[in-house]
Amino acid sequence: MNRAILVGVALLVALVAITGVVPGAWGGADGEAEETIGEVAPEYEPWFSPIWTPPSGEIESLLFSLQAGLGGAVIGYYVGAFGRNRNASNA
């Protein structure tokens, strides 16, 4: 793993650690935007609702993990293959 990735991971860990110190609800910023719309245009009603909503928070996090997992697998597969090819051609 190279230095830049380590820096990124360290930053990420620091951000997660901050949640223990800084008070906050740690909800999504999209929810806050929704509230802001409510303040600016209190009469606005969403005219379209999601076709399908995950039935629970668990199912939602399952689909989010699946998204990240699939992406991670693809990156790992190709980056791994690139690394092996280079080692093979150097040998």
Partner: protein, 220 residues
């Protein structure tokens, strides 16, 4: 963050579809052409797309007491430029709006315009500019941070145009400041995380893959 389903009035939803559609179509054409010319490029397209997948799935806490997600488009911007990035972003945004009720079909055009087009385009300009003075990893970092940040500024502008805080440009401006206040601060640390990891990945790709060196103009 993506604009939630139904949260743009029909007029604006349609307008952003008109903006996004031609760019996405062009991006799809470019992607197909590039892969047809050299099928080994599919590996890089897959990595760039997968990076968007991973990063837009993460909800990262920021220093502001709320969470938001990175865009993950930086790697695609550096490797392929904005058009292909628009196409890749659309796939991810579709997945999230259909399966996660995150973003939406009515707001897909607007979200693609922000995350897939304007953000990546400004990020790509940043990359082209900084690349003259800085190394590849530094430029990738800068491009990714700018892409992330501009994406959220565009989202703020889109919401402000649909929900101005008063008449005329002034109303749009003050509403935009309100929305940007929600996102901008949250987004800065998250952009830095994304930028560092994108820079690391590009740095590694250049090390192991000769055609990435050629593509990015790095001497072997």
């Amino acid at each position: 963050m993506h604009i939630m389903e139904g949260f743009l009035p029909p007029f604006w939803a349609a307008a952003w579809y008109l903006v996004a559609a031609p760019v996405v179509a062009f991006g799809a054409y470019r992607t197909a052409k590039m892969v047809r010319e050299d099928s080994s490029r599919i590996a890089l397209v897959a990595i760039a797309g997968a990076f968007v997948f991973v990063f837009s799935a993460l909800k990262i806490p920021s220093v502001t007491g709320s969470t938001s997600h990175p865009t993950g488009t930086g790697v695609a911007v550096v490797l392929f430029g904005p058009a292909v990035t628009a196409f890749l972003s659309t796939i991810v945004l579709l997945y999230q709006s259909l399966l996660l009720a995150h973003g939406g079909i009515s707001t897909l055009g607007a979200n693609v315009a922000a995350m897939g087009i304007v953000g990546p385009f400004v990020g790509w300009l940043t990359y082209r500019f900084t690349r003259r003075y800085a190394g590849l990893e530094g430029s990738t970092f800068a491009a990714t941070v700018v892409t992330n940040w501009v994406t959220y500024l565009v989202t703020s502008a889109q919401l402000a145009m649909a929900f101005p805080a008063g008449g005329g440009l002034e109303g749009v401006g003050s509403a935009m400041a309100g929305f940007a206040a929600v996102f901008a601060v949250t987004q800065v640390p998250i952009g830095l995380v994304e930028g560092a990891i994108a820079a690391g990945l590009i740095g590694y790709l250049v090390e192991v893959k000769a055609d990435v060196r050629t593509r990015l103009g790095v001497p072997a």
